[in-house]
Amino acid sequence: MLRPCGNFKRSYYQDEAIFQTNFQRVFLIAFMILLIILPLLAGPYMVNLCIIIGIYIIGAVGLNILTGFTGLISLGHGALVGVGAYVAAILQNHLSFPWPLNLIFAGTAASLVGLVFGLPSLRIKGLYLAMSTLAGQMIFVFAVSNTPNYTGGDVGISVQKISTFIWMSEKTFFYYLVFLTVILSVFCARNLLRTKIGRNLIAIRDNDLSAMVLGVEIGKYRLLSFIISSFYAGIAGAIWAFYAGVIGIEQFSLELSVLYLSIILIGGLGTILGSIYGAIFVVLVPETLSNLATELNRIMSVDVSNYLVIANNGIFGLLIILFLIFKPEGLRKFWEDTKSYFKLWPYSY
């Protein structure tokens, strides 16, 4: 059979297609099947890691829409995740709504707060906007600390368990919930970027003045970006609240906002896949290093655990620095380069 050498496109529709080749389609289906049967094969430890990765992916996709596609820096994403978590927890504890409804309300509440966070973006951008979202993060901490009757204040609150299927373990249930939410999130985000809205967001990121000249209402689209991004953050927070069962203010600190920024930077700014790679990286790398340290400590005659713990942090930090130096486009680019290398192998070009 003769096959064309290369991946030619004859229309813009082909160029914008999510799956560029049949192999991609088959590979994705196979990967999905693998993920569906994973809880049957893997232990609860692995399933837990997958759930945490999934929650990070949802939040990171949201931040990537804001920062990666619209070019707006936010240091308040952790607070928006927190808003989702607290709203879901309060609704779950005090109202007898079904939990999926609480999940949607949590996302909506985070969107509304995100809208407020985004208002300064009508006038400012760059570092100034980062500072204003940082202020939002601080206000969130202050608000939670000073409303102990609803949020538990500095102590935190327990979240009533959500009803799961009787024939499925709680962990497996959460795995599938996160799995479906991730697919939906990625699907929506990927398609959003192929619409007029997505193209406007990218135009604002690339050059807001030019976008304005071309007729893009930049204020409206910036706010829209904040709303969409915050909805993702709220959903991530709500799922975390249901899964963890206990939430506290220290879970949604500035550190979480910085972690989300790290995820999209490491994975690849301005790509949906980057959010996925980044989330996998920040969860699995420290976990693998910690596992390695335990094994290393076992085979060594003297206890070196304290040194290994410090080395772990050092190695993780070093990996991030090396990535930013040698692959500033993130893990997504690294993956694409690796694929290209093997596609062309043994030829360089």
Binding site: L41, Y45, P148, E170, E250, N306
Partner: protein, 411 residues
């Protein structure tokens, strides 16, 4: 190209098998080594107490192994640095319970433990909070949560008992007290106010001030405290803000006596106070002994085993927590062919049946029942001896009244 893709898929499947399938096939038996877990903040924001605490727990298990282990089985403590991060703590717990098959867990008892208690119940893993800083840990009965010491609020009750006694000796009829706190300990103040703890202890709370844990100065807060002309200042804070408060107190020429939490009872605090030329009239409460108390049996053992005459009090807490866990493991009669779940349940039952455990004098004797998983109520009060740069026990019994103690958990 086709071969390359095929190779990629084969590698992917192999990786999947190695990372996901193999661990799931492992049989959960105790085996020849009794494994316990430790979730410690070794490099995070509370590492000043977390790191020595982890050292104490690890050293105790080394000490047990050197003495022949538990019922002939060697022990292993798998320590995870959770960096005061709840998500890390959760995945650490999953790893320890599902992958490492730990029988019990030791932790400080702060931000992460309330979250883990629900998970612990599902997996039947007893959690020992050796220092038990959180009300949520000790406040109500958790089937798998055990605490060898009281909470911050209980510690405050002991301090109030000490203030009342000390004021009497100084001829002060009704001592005026200021309460300094960080954000995290404010709920303790609220709880103490709700149960009228100050009034019932015969002291008057005249002012409370929040000093941020990352504050650079406590000048304005202490100026307000000075205006109130207080006799005692309770510092429910970490080391840094406490030192800032003491420094300002010295500058302002305050004559009040300061007392603080177990958190601050370490030599780093003394060095910082010295360096800052701060107020030196300082007392600290502690549920465990100091290694400066050479006449206590447990202290002698620590000094002999580590070869060091001084260890931080948090080290002693880690050592004592691990000792309590080992007492339970010994009593549970764990054998290598027991399933992990059975061994965990046996450990829990054994811990619940511990009566008057001596703990080598490192804590007050500990008794647990099926209705009470709180260890000791007693806190010792220590005064800084600046000549010897050491903490010396202040004589007296500062156990809070039973009524106050019970009231604390009504809220």
């Amino acid at each position: 190209m086709r071969m390359n893709r095929l190779t990629g898929i084969v590698f992917l499947l192999m990786g999947f098998f190695v990372f996901f399938v193999c661990p799931a096939l492992a049989a959960p038996k105790v085996g020849t080594t009794i494994k316990v877990g430790g979730l410690f903040d070794i490099t995070g924001p509370t590492s000043i107490v977390g790191a020595p605490f982890a050292d104490g727990a690890r050293d105790y298990f080394r000490y047990v192994n050197k003495k022949g282990g538990i019922n002939g089985l060697q022990t292993e403590i798998i320590a995870i640095d959770y960096q005061y991060n709840v998500q890390k703590s959760m995945s650490g717990f999953e790893r320890l319970s599902e992958k490492e098959n730990m029988l019990g867990l030791i932790g400080w008892g702060s931000v992460d433990v309330p979250l883990l208690l629900t998970k612990a119940e599902e997996k039947h893993v007893p959690i020992i909070s050796a220092a038990a800083r959180s009300e949520a840990v000790v406040g109500k009965l958790h089937p798998y949560g055990f605490s060898i010491a009281g909470s911050y609020a209980e510690e405050c009750l002991s301090q109030l008992a000490w203030i009342r006694n000390d004021a009497k000796n100084r001829g002060i009829a009704k001592p005026r007290v200021a309460f300094l706190h960080v954000r995290g300990t404010r709920p303790d103040l609220d709880r103490l106010k709700k149960i009228n703890a100050f009034k019932k202890s015969g002291v008057e709370l005249v002012i409370s001030e929040l000093i941020h844990s990352k504050a650079m100065s406590a000048a304005s807060e202490m100026a307000r405290v000075k205006e109130k002309n207080v006799d005692y200042v309770m510092c429910e804070m970490t080391v840094k803000p406490t030192v800032l408060a003491l420094k300002e107190a010295k500058k302002l020429g305050m004559k009040a006596r300061f007392c603080g939490l177990f958190f601050t009872a370490n030599k780093i605090m003394l060095k910082l106070v010295d360096a800052a030329k701060a107020q030196r009239d300082y007392f600290a409460s502690s549920p465990v002994a100091f290694t400066d108390q050479g006449d206590i049996e447990g202290v002698k053992i620590i000094q002999k085993f580590t070869g060091e005459s001084h260890k931080p009090v948090q080290f002693v807490a880690g050592w004592a927590g691990a000792m309590f866990l080992v007492r339970g493991l010994e009593k549970a009669k764990i054998t290598s062919d027991m399933t992990v779940i059975d061994a965990r349940k046996a450990l829990r039952d054994a811990l619940e049946s511990i009566k008057n455990a001596r703990m080598d004098g490192l804590t007050m004797p500990i008794t647990m029942t099926s209705q009470n998983h709180r260890g000791t109520k007693g806190f010792r009060i220590y005064k800084v001896n600046w000549a010897g740069k050491a903490f010396e026990e202040f004589p007296g019994n500062f156990t809070p009244s039973e009524d106050l103690y019970n009231d604390l958990y009504k809220y």
